[in-house]
Point group: C2
Chain length 219, copies 2
Amino acid sequence: MNLSIAEENYVKAIYKLQDGDTAVTTNALAYELDTKPASVTDMAKKLKEKQLIDYEKYQGITLSSEGRKTALQIVRRHRLWECFLVDKLAFSWEEVHELAEELEHVRSEKLTNRLSEYLGNPTVDPHGDPIPDAHGKMVKPRPQTSLDQANAKRLVVTAVTDQSTALLAFLNAKGIGLGTQLEILAHYEYDNSIEIKIKHAPALTISEQVAKNIMVRPV
Amino acid sequence: MNLSIAEENYVKAIYKLQDGDTAVTTNALAYELDTKPASVTDMAKKLKEKQLIDYEKYQGITLSSEGRKTALQIVRRHRLWECFLVDKLAFSWEEVHELAEELEHVRSEKLTNRLSEYLGNPTVDPHGDPIPDAHGKMVKPRPQTSLDQANAKRLVVTAVTDQSTALLAFLNAKGIGLGTQLEILAHYEYDNSIEIKIKHAPALTISEQVAKNIMVRPV
DNA sequence: AAAATTATTTAGATTTGTCTAAATAATAAT
DNA sequence: ATTATTATTTAGACAAATCTAAATAATTTT
């Protein structure tokens, strides 16, 4: 099947938002893709026509098995290019998302597989997210929660879910990156802020909003 | 300026066809881009609006200096990706054109420059074509003519201008590739064929049509 | 130089992906 | 169980890039 870049982006976004077999809502998808709900409805009809999603009016969207396969291919390409940019071209991990967003749309299995091989068939990308192999299989992501609802005290940063340049640059400035070890000092309910301390650095306060996008696991 | 992929392809094609200050015709551009003359006229108006070309009705198209700059950037990206695919991912020179055709549209100067550096700032691509540097400067292409109008007898293949997969596979089957040394045995006018002999191989006959796309220099 | 041919442009339509505004359905609140 | 609110869909429009068919300009031929 020959998908347009727009269609690929929808499939990828549905994959990202779909948790288990819970259907993705029109509004959530519109927000994720920075577009309008009406546009999502339009595209849903097209993707249903192409059998990539299951969709009934007002019932939300789920990927079909064909759609899931397609999504995994796109995710694979995205994460491999991120590895390439970081490992080979010395980009920093917060710069690569937007570039990979473009490179991922070059749909050549041969290129993808050669790239993977060249990189030593990595199983996780620079953000800590697992890379599907050529058959769509991937290692199960390490047990991780977002920082705002972690209950352990000593944590290590494993990923950042919102990969906007703005947020990533912000975290970089604060000294927070992949692998950063930190400790939760306090969680203030009244202003939704979290006080943390990074190893060998003074304590600092971040908003819950930001903490939601920082994935961590106990260390 | 933010160009669409279609606009970039037009600029690149105009650059390719424009020889000196001779204007490119609507028909030639339509043929090159495998589209219709009417579409070229439509796009010419848009590119003129964006000041990338000089264009007056019925007078043909030439790149403006801004357009030339843009074209060189695209050509630079294309040829660097070709180098990457051949040098790093072990693609053969005839496979890379179509992939580079997609990769070239990722417009990031930082990526382009890092890629160039990673490849050792190459000055020619796997087809023997020169690669513009970050400022648009490139080495002057080696003196080469197409095989059908070469007058020297002993020649070496330096490039293939029509990089369609079909032609490249055909040449590959015949044992003709970049760097292949050959000798012109005869040029038959009455059926527009050329008889050549490749080193260490029996003589073979190719059409003038094919020979037009094989660039050679005396050896 | 008129006629024939070829090249180019215009006019109007189509597809893709998007939008706004209005209508309808689903859900939540009273 | 109505009412209010929120979510979703429909209807109609638009921009980009293309097309076909018809009109016009340029060039070549006789």
